[in-house]
Symmetry: C2
Subunit: 228 residues, 2 copies
């Protein structure tokens, strides 16, 4: 099988993207420590990687916290709760995050001879981040094909975003069919002790709605389970 680089956060989406493509590519997973509030993401990514049978899983430390500007990297900015999804780009937006992540994925791909990158972004049931859109991914692919030795050699990069136009419920149903164990995944932006999901941030709200709409039991333990 051809190699491909999977961006694996430990969340629901990247686990599903990996499960959908692990029969087609030999996946090499890449995760980031980027000054997140929650190291629990990395632990989940490790578990998901093993679950998907991925043997090469690299965790790269990058210091986005040095820049600040996001509720996910700067402790002085609060994670919004119950804010109402769909009202602009939220405080959890991390400046240029997917641009940085995909750039590292491309570097790894060049090194191991891969030309395929896999990312679990989606635009429908998302927080409205601009770096999760088809237009962004298409522009980034052109950047790689203009600016890498790999592409100069003739074989162009492809970016696979199998979830980009699915709802959260469709993602969950596709993942269940592909055998994803969602109990291993972690979505919460602001977990409490023991990694307990808050139940109220955008990521928790989208996750809970998704399981309910999919008619699939949500294996997540939430600290707060108010009606959404």
């Amino acid at each position: 099988m051809k190699p491909a680089v999977l961006l694996l956060s430990g969340g629901l989406d990247s686990a599903t993207a990996g499960a959908l493509l692990c029969g087609r590519f030999e996946l090499h997973a890449l995760s980031f420590r980027y000054g997140q509030r929650h190291a629990v993401e990395i632990a989940a990514a490790r578990k998901v990687g093993r679950h998907l049978g991925i043997r090469d899983h690299r965790v790269v430390s990058i210091d986005l916290g040095a820049f600040g500007g996001s509720a996910l990297t700067d402790r002085s900015i609060a994670v919004p709760r119950r804010r109402g999804i769909g009202r602009g780009i939220p405080a959890t937006y991390v400046p240029a995050r997917n641009t940085i992540f995909l750039a590292f994925a491309a570097a790894l791909a060049e090194t191991i001879g891969a030309r395929d990158l896999v990312i679990g972004v989606n635009v429908l049931d998302s927080s409205g981040y601009p770096d999760c859109t088809p237009a962004f991914l298409a522009a980034f692919r052109k950047t790689l094909n203009a600016g890498t030795r790999a592409a100069a050699g003739g074989q162009k990069f492809r970016i696979h975003a199998p979830l980009v136009r699915l709802t959260k419920a469709e993602i969950i149903r596709a993942g269940v069919r592909a055998g994803v164990d969602y109990a291993l995944t972690h979505s919460c932006y602001d977990p409490g002790r023991g990694g307990l999901a808050c139940g109220a941030c955008d990521a928790c709200v989208l996750r809970r709605r998704g399981f309910r709409a999919a008619g699939v039991p949500d294996p997540t333990r939430y600290a707060s389970v108010g009606r959404r």
Copy 2:
């Protein structure tokens, strides 16, 4: 003055690019520790930053060495000497380096409210890296304008590459007019003890040829000064 982010390596080119634009923008400098063979680059970048009067200079550590694949990040790959410039992309190419650097520059720019990035790449007297070309920069700009909150707000990114179509001699003459002290800069890919330039790698060869063609005395001390 408007803020802008300058990618500052401590080399001849980025010092010149900074000098050419420091009257037009309030420059914020960004340098990287990326597993280079030579920490001497960072020391030079610090000196150049002070020389340019830059008050905000950030150094971000990123672990490109974890991927390998380049003579600049992997000690098992030799830096080529006297290889003849212009024969393909050399072993000193670092996978996706400028894509990664510009992605971090964009993250910093979003955080400080800048929309202008400055980079000292040039295509004429260069080693032939694909991520130094106008086509690459244009594609990257489109990626930022598709994928950032900043650009979604209406104000688009610009990437300034004032040297992109200059020869090394033209760069040096422009820098001398702008008051650059080239004794502070460092180009060598493989310096010896005390940061002494080798005189024989691509970067040294291009630098030496550039000073000679510009008719400007080269302030660099080289370990080897064979005829080029």
